[in-house]
Amino acid sequence: MAVKALYDYDFPSADRAENFGDDQLVFVQWKGNPFFCSAAAFRAPKAMPFGEFVAAMVVPWAGSDPEFDLAAVHDWRLFGEPLTPADGVALTELGIGHKALISFSA
């Protein structure tokens, strides 16, 4: 339903893609681990290779759990659907777009 207003109510979204230029927001969830209260939010270049994204951003965050073991990471998902990770492939080429939610188990 449209917002009721005295004028034409039409305003841009505060977090639209163009506000991040060549970067985008990506949310990462460690499934089944209550040690983290929520998924984490990262800003990363759209062209960043997936492996670099994991190493530079996900691992430092996940590693604050003393039980984190990179070798145990598996079952990557994108919005709940299976995602085949490929270290050398850019985020957007894997279908990970602006404000995508990806998750892993470990």
Binding site: K4, A39, A40, D65
Partner: protein
């Protein structure tokens, strides 16, 4: 001189209260002949609410301006006498523990600015509502809310002398991540129309949920030796009964005026119950985790003040008008054993960036939580707290090393679980104008999809940090922009607050 019985004295003749009230409020109103009615009141039609007769508005308190300021001045005199005594006698020494003050930091940062915002918006209503009776009630409430803001500031300022986190509450309300939760709620209400504001704040906030939002802080103050806050609470409470009356009268009046209003009001009740309930998650965390001497559990408060008094008392009354209980109320009921734990985990994990400190509950506290929440605490929440305790026993302190995913509507980090399953995070996704939006619950998703044009504009703290609008790219940059100073944030144990406490209570230290 003998004491006469009151009946024996000759009373000066006065007009009866009803007539006095009428002459000095409603009868001062006029019909404009210099502009049209629509030009004089341009905001009262666009929401679709229909009012046929503004004279139908009942105002049981019948205050005139002279009576109003006489009674309010008396309330202020009584409160400031208490505050003076407190300041003169080092009253903070009666507190149960310095860690209690984290609840009051949350209060002045999160609640006091809302009082001020309410003051402003009731002043707007005092101009823009068409009927003289609700205009006058709004005018009184506007001055009440300003008094509340001022008295809270004076009350709490005493603690600012010795403890951190209080100094920049107004600036922080506008900038800091967890404070965008209350701020965005009130901004949402203030940018809605006058009738939606009446249902969102006067009804949902000041009537439906007022006891859940207010009583925990005041009884927490009472149990933890915080006399000034408790005195403020009693001083404000008598104003609150007028506010509750305004809220209840607003909803009944609008429902009675025209049947067309019923579905509009139902939609607002559905939206605003959930928005205010989500904000009350901060109160739940405070009650269960931030009080050295807890009063009652969130679960108990929710059952008493909401389920029993509102669902059991108020809503049967409103059924007469065709109103049903709020849309996602069953999700709220299903969450009552989980809300405080999930919310405090968020605050605990992020207090490095907050203007208060947190700590992992110790065994004694966990025993109380276990007793209050037999179905959930030991199974779902204790294991994580124990893990935090293990890390701390080894000299560490785990904070979230990064920024969280936020809900687009309530703006809380998305740390809530599915209503019927504490082990599964609750995550919802919507698309609008080809852009993805995340929400934390059925309630917030419903609110988003009902008015997406509004919520896509939300100033989400995490996204704003990432857009470079919060002082800089590093955590120290952001904390400086927030106004957070040394001693305000982080872990309570070893904090400046705890050290200050130890200095003021020397016999309780010396346990190296």
């Amino acid at each position: 001189m003998s004491i006469d019985k009151p009946e024996a004295r000759v009373r000066p003749k006065k007009l009866p209260l009803k007539q006095r009230y009428s002459l000095l409020t409603r009868d001062l109103d006029w019909e404009p002949n210099y502009v049209t009615r629509e030009q004089l009141y341009p905001h009262t039609s666009y929401e679709g609410i229909v009012v046929h007769d503004w004279d139908g508005w009942e105002d049981p308190f019948r205050l005139t301006v002279d009576a109003y300021h006489k009674y309010q001045a008396e309330k202020d005199k009584r409160l400031y006498a208490v505050l003076d005594g407190f300041a003169q006698s080092q009253g903070h020494l009666t507190l149960s523990d310095a860690s209690y003050l984290n609840a009051i930091k949350l209060f002045i940062q999160g609640v006091t600015p809302l009082e001020y915002a309410a003051h402003r918006h009731f002043a707007y209503l005092a101009r823009h509502l068409e009927g003289p009776a609700p205009r006058f009630a709004a005018l009184c409430q506007s001055v009440d809310e300003l008094r509340h803001a001022q008295t809270q500031i004076h009350t709490i300022s005493n603690y600012n002398k010795y403890y951190g986190g209080f100094h920049s509450w107004s600036k922080m309300h506008d900038r800091v991540w967890y404070l965008s939760v209350p701020k965005s709620l009130f901004d949402d209400a203030m940018t809605a129309g006058p009738f939606e504001f009446l249902i969102s704040i006067s009804f949902s906030f000041e009537y439906l949920l007022t006891n859940l939002l207010f009583v925990p802080f005041m009884s927490g103050a009472s149990f933890n030796g915080d006399m000034p806050t408790m005195s403020f609470g009693f001083s404000a409470q008598s104003d609150e009964s007028r506010h509750m009356t305004l809220g209840l009268e607003a909803i009944k009046f609008l429902l009675e005026q025209d049947e067309a209003n019923v579905p509009i009001i139902q939609g607002w009740i559905d939206k605003w119950f959930w928005r205010a309930y989500r904000m009350s998650a901060l109160v739940a965390a405070m009650m269960d985790y931030m009080l050295p001497k807890p009063v009652m559990s969130w679960r108990e408060a929710f059952e008493l003040y909401f389920e029993e008094q509102m669902l059991g008392g108020l809503f049967p009354d409103l059924e007469f008008y065709g109103i049903t209980p709020p849309k996602h109320v069953n999700d709220a009921i299903a969450e009552k054993d989980k809300l405080s734990h999930e919310t405090y985990k968020i605050l605990h994990n992020f207090s490095f960036a907050a203007a208060f400190t947190t700590q992992t509950p110790q065994q004694e506290h966990m025993a109380w939580l276990s007793e209050q929440y037999p179905d959930t605490f030991d199974r779902f929440y204790r294991p994580t707290w124990e893990k935090h305790l293990d890390i701390e026993a080894g000299g560490g302190r785990a904070f979230f090393q990064g920024l969280p995913q936020l809900c687009q509507v309530c703006q809380i980090p998305m740390g809530f679980s599915e209503p019927d399953d504490p082990a599964t995070p609750s995550l919802r996704t919507s698309t609008f104008r080809d852009e993805v939006f995340h929400t934390c619950s059925n309630g917030c998703q419903w609110i988003f999809e009902r008015e997406p044009e509004k919520y896509v504009q939300a100033w989400l703290p995490v996204h704003q940090i990432y857009q470079g609008n919060c002082g800089g790219p590093t955590v120290p940059d952001v904390l400086a922009w927030y106004g957070i100073q040394e001693g305000d944030n982080g872990e309570y144990k070893g904090s400046l607050d705890q050290q200050s406490w130890a200095e003021w209570h020397p016999t309780s230290t010396k346990e190296a």
